[in-house]
Amino acid sequence: MKIFYFAWLREKVGLREEELTPPENVRDVASLLEWLKGRSPGHAEALKDPRMVRVAINQDYAAGNPPVGPEDEIALFPPVTGG
């Protein structure tokens, strides 16, 4: 599973992207975020307020708590501020 981080999430995590193989019990967005929090203090800091984290799966916004799989491209970022 490929994970991308953008903006201040990228800075807090300290990575632009990582290729991960989560354990079997990580099957949806919520369990993925929970598992990611345990990877480092940076991850924990970046993901501590889920209201500030937007999730995209395969370059589409994820609403609710959809399933995620090993082939998915996941992106985590704050609310967008372009234009």
């Binding site: 903006a7 995209a56 370059q59 916004y61 970022f77 967008v80 501020t81």
Partner: protein, 159 residues
């Protein structure tokens, strides 16, 4: 047509391309967003725009397609810059071409309103107090939501 680039854009050339050879076009509405020198009361020396290559382009295409679905457009254009930009620099150009001006104006405002809340771009400002990531504005969410309200037949949007 949508494009993400670091370079500045030539508005005249962009709009000529948009309208060229289509005499059905009666009006082109456009909007250019610029870097301002202040934000939330602090002076801004520069800002850096980050995006999500792939998803950004995809979302811009979807937003443009939605505009074409809602209005009788002959053409549309979104050009958004990324990288470091100083006050006065143009950030974004959106434009729509239609036989009639009302459709052009409405769809142009729709493009920028949706872009601001749905396209993956992030701004980091350099102020006297250091760097800071710009926070999303409730007013922008309200402006984008307003267009969802205006199209109730289409149901909730996920673009």
């Amino acid at each position: 047509m949508i494009r993400v680039q670091t370079e500045a854009f030539d508005v005249n050339a962009e709009l000529e391309k948009l309208a060229a050879g289509n005499p059905k076009i009666g009006g082109v509405a456009s909007f250019i967003g610029y870097v301002r020198d202040e934000s939330e009361g602090a002076g801004v020396a520069a800002m850096t725009l980050e995006h999500y290559p792939g998803m950004t382009e995809k979302k811009l295409e979807e937003i443009a397609a939605e505009a074409h679905r809602r209005w009788p457009l002959e053409a549309s254009l979104i050009v958004h810059r990324v990288g470091r930009l100083e006050p006065g620099a143009p950030i974004v150009l959106v434009a729509t071409a239609s036989a009639h001006r009302q459709a052009a104006f409405e769809s142009c405002q729709f493009l920028i309103d949706w872009l601001k809340t749905k396209a993956p771009f992030w701004k980091e400002e350099e102020t006297g107090q250091g760097k800071r990531w710009v926070e999303a504005r409730a007013a922008d969410d309200a402006a984008a939501e307003n267009w969802t309200q205006k199209d109730p037949a289409a149901g909730p949007k996920k673009v």
